[in-house]
Amino acid sequence: MDKLYSLSAKSMKELLDKKEVSSVEITKSVIERIEKTDKDVCAYNSYNFENALKNAEAVDTKRANGEALGALAGIPLAVKDNIHVKGLKTTCSSRMLENFVAPFNATVTDKLNASDAIIVGKTTMDEFAMGSSGESSKLAVAKNPWDTSRIPGGSSSGSAVTVAASQVPFAMGTDTGGSIRMPAAYTGIVGLKPTYGTVSRYGIIPLASSFDQAGPMARNVDDLAMLFNAVCGRDKMDAVTKNYTFDGYGDSVKGMKIGVPKEYYGEGVQPAVKERVYAAIETLKAQGAEIMEISLPSTEYALAAYYIIQCAEAASNLGRYDGLRYGFRGSNTSNVEDLYLTTRSEGFGDEVKRRIMLGTCVLSSGYSDAFYKRAKLLQQNIAKEFTDAFKSCDVIITPSIALTAWKFGEKAGNPAEVYAADICTITLNIAGLPGMSVPCGFDSTNNMPVGFQIIGKKFRESDILTVAKCYENAVGGFAVKEF
């Protein structure tokens, strides 16, 4: 069969269930596709082809023997390079962990294995998930399949790219402030950041522990739901996870109330983006949704609150890379102080150092009250505004990002502007809410994909997916880049 790699996960599953193809055939097709195209899009830090084929064979054997199979049996996928897969490197696209081999599986990995999914490789990312363009990677720098001179978005850059370039049907990303939703929007795919506490963080190298959440990225809503269902649920190894079961989703928005918060459509949002998002809202209105304007006034403070808390937690989480036990070791080892200094100076990239310094500053005695503690108060305000807003609507729709994919290097030297582009996505991480980016056409000025974001109530991923599915049907599916 031709182009097996380009099929949706749902189609792969159907063919596998009917025994029309084997997992080995699909996996081989995927591997060939990656080998052929990855030099152009650079989605991966490392491949897992040998194990993938072995695992595919094992799944085929199980199937042939009539044994029980997991929900993703025999379907290839990729995971972001901050998620531990035992025996493979987890680099976080950093020099610091360039040769770090994971000694244990993330819970997400265990769940994927239990679903009999086939992990074909580890996708690149912004270094330690710090960035929204993918450019801060110190290893592979992924490129946008729609225009390889443009950024794919980050930090889950490689996962977005491998899906958008039809190398695999879906992939796992992680999202701390938009790291699933932004690259999904930039590359024209769907990406879900689940409610905080839905997917276990165990075995995923953290950025900001109170915001991090892993989630699925795919080319269509059904595939996304399939992957989400396989990885969600309480984990005794992650104390913040909740008992959660995914309720499935419908395809009608009739009678649903969609809130449109004016603060998310301000001057910072490019007109071409606004235009596409409004069009998407009109489409949903035509499908029977009730559209209402709402207000989330604390949004203007969200960016400051987000970067303070995120940097504070990141600086603490990154303290352990000291060159003593694992990872990169600096050039001067004459005493422990110098070892710390050279390890961290040489092992971390500029963006990581910038955030460590910010995070250290905002927690310092004398500054903590003015920065960290006020940011935590703002966090409560922002969360409360969402809670209040959700009293009158079921979901909220905003742009996923204010911009579309820019050219590599175009925004170097202006980190503040890049941080500001996160404004639509970070509020959800602050409030712990689920959100999904859904493609809604192209920027008329540069032909790059635009995404809109559907925000749901806590643990109501079902609502979000219902809206997304309805939209997908209404527009006749999402464009896929022939690549």
Partner: protein, 480 residues
């Protein structure tokens, strides 16, 4: 010590809890295991790992909080204390900052004839760090991560102690409570209790506190005493010479018997505390807090006072029994039978029983000796069936074998002879055989009486009633 000055002492005591597993992972919590064997990705702080709180640690902490009359903060939280050190693999210690598990308590201690109430500022739970082993043979430092993640409680006192002796008693009392509650091995030599000592001095009568200096790394009771005396003298000397004291941290060198400057206030670390995002805040059920309070055993100071006031024991005896959970448990079990009185019992517990346990390097509870047999034996002494000397023979048997003392007395013919005609025969024969001693006695050297009674006891093979022998001997000599 210069008596123009008063010493003010506060203690920060770290105690390792004896839970089966560590505070945030399933690794075994044990002392003395092969290095780096009780470790896992979580306690090694590998990237991607997360803590899961061991609820026993919270329970143990609450128990100690109750013993120290603290308020229990049911809505509790954990915080990260960030700093770089080779013994800290995550570069932060998960501890409790602004909301400790327990706060605002006190501990009564007995110092001399006084009961002193020492305020407890707070008690919080946290994780221990790895252990650094400085290995001179290859000029390096080794790290043993077994200790990493061992649960600790830190107990911070108010600056309420006024002498090194008080501080020592306070620490000993804390240690005994930990043992009574069964929540810590409390072995200072294994580092399961460690103390940081805060000392200041001020002119007698002054209400203001002096400049506080912290001495770290104190790991024995005598060390606490010596470290306080040393530091107080150092401060007094500085003041007497017109010098100025600075808030600083010093390190105690037990071998050298002195402290050295570790860091001044300017160099104090900024720990950048913030709430631990990997553990959600939680509310401890009120029922659990109340149940743990109800289960609290009688604590050593209360025991000491009860032994003195209700049992009539001397302060020294009462305290010696009460401060040892092993002795106190045995003593209380014997008393509970109602078959013997406290005084003779305490003599036996502190005397023969302790001697045998010490010889065998075991606890009293580990001896084959049963409470039942011991109280029966003591009852036989008290009702004069056997003498103390005969009791020792009985004891040598019951300490190892579960035999009834009454049967032993019968089988070995150990019953005390109180029949005066039988005793008189012995007295007469001793008088006849010891003419010189009799004359000495008559000449005023009455202390030979003990020798003469001893001869009587010997002839009676220990069975004669010594008090009767004494009385009859005096009468016989004086009538002769």
């Amino acid at each position: 010590m210069n008596n123009k000055y008063e010493i003010v002492v506060g203690l920060e005591v770290h105690a390792e809890l004896s839970t089966k597993t560590k505070i945030f992972c399933g690794c075994k919590n044990e002392f003395g295991a092969e290095v780096n064997t009780n470790v896992c990705p979580v306690c090694m702080g590998l990237p991607g790992t997360l803590p899961v709180l061991n609820e026993k640690v919270v329970e143990y902490g609450i128990r100690m909080g109750h013993a120290l009359n603290c308020t229990i903060n049911r809505a509790t939280k954990h915080d990260r204390k960030n700093y770089f050190y080779a013994d800290l693999p995550k570069a932060y210690q998960t501890t409790q900052d602004d909301v400790p598990l327990c706060a605002n308590g006190y501990l009564d201690i007995l110092v001399g004839d006084e009961t002193r109430r020492i305020g407890i500022t707070r008690l919080h739970i946290e994780e221990d760090t790895a252990k650094l082993i400085h290995a001179d043979e290859f000029g390096g430092t080794l790290i043993d991560f077994n200790r990493c993640g061992v649960p600790l409680i830190e107990i911070v006192s108010e600056p309420d102690m006024r002498s090194a002796e008080e501080a020592k008693v306070y620490l000993e009392t804390l240690r005994t409570i930990l043992l009574y509650l069964g929540i810590s091995d409390a072995k200072m030599q294994e580092g399961s209790i460690r103390a940081d000592v805060n000392v200041s001095v001020r002119p007698v009568g002054s209400k203001e506190y002096g400049v506080r200096v912290e001495t770290k790394n104190v790991s024995s009771f005598s060390g606490v005493y010596n470290a306080i005396v040393y530091e107080a003298n150092r401060q007094i000397e500085v003041l007497e010479n017109g010098g100025e004291l600075f808030q600083e941290t010093r390190r105690w060198d037990d071998a050298a018997g002195k402290n050295v400057l570790m860091r001044s206030k300017e160099d104090a670390q900024d720990y950048r505390y913030f709430p631990e995002p990997d553990l959600l805040g939680y509310v401890i059920p009120e029922e659990l807090v109340e149940n743990l309070k109800a289960e609290l055993p009688e604590l050593p100071v209360q025991k000491t006072l009860r032994y003195m006031n209700e049992c009539g024991l001397s302060r020294a005896d009462a305290e010696t029994i009460a401060l040892s959970k092993d002795k106190a448990v045995f003593f209380d079990a014997c008393m509970a039978t109602g078959k013997c009185g406290p005084k003779l019992l305490s003599n036996w517990v502190l005397g023969e029983i302790t001697r045998v346990a010490n010889e065998r390097r075991c606890e009293i509870s580990e001896l084959p000796l049963t409470v039942e047999n011991l109280v029966d034996m003591i009852a036989l002494i008290e009702n004069k069936t056997i003498s103390n000397a005969a009791a020792k023979t009985v004891f040598e048997i019951i300490v190892d074998k579960d035999e009834k003392p009454a049967d032993i007395v019968k089988a070995k013919g150990l019953a005390q002879i109180s029949d005066s005609s039988a005793l008189q025969t012995i007295v007469d024969s001793v008088i006849a055989a010891n003419e010189k001693a009799i004359n000495d006695y008559k000449g005023g050297r009455t202390n030979v009486l003990g020798f003469l009674v001893g001869q009587c006891m010997k002839q009676s093979k220990g069975q004669g009633n010594p008090a009767m022998f004494k009385e009859m001997m005096i009468a016989a000599i004086e009538n002769s």
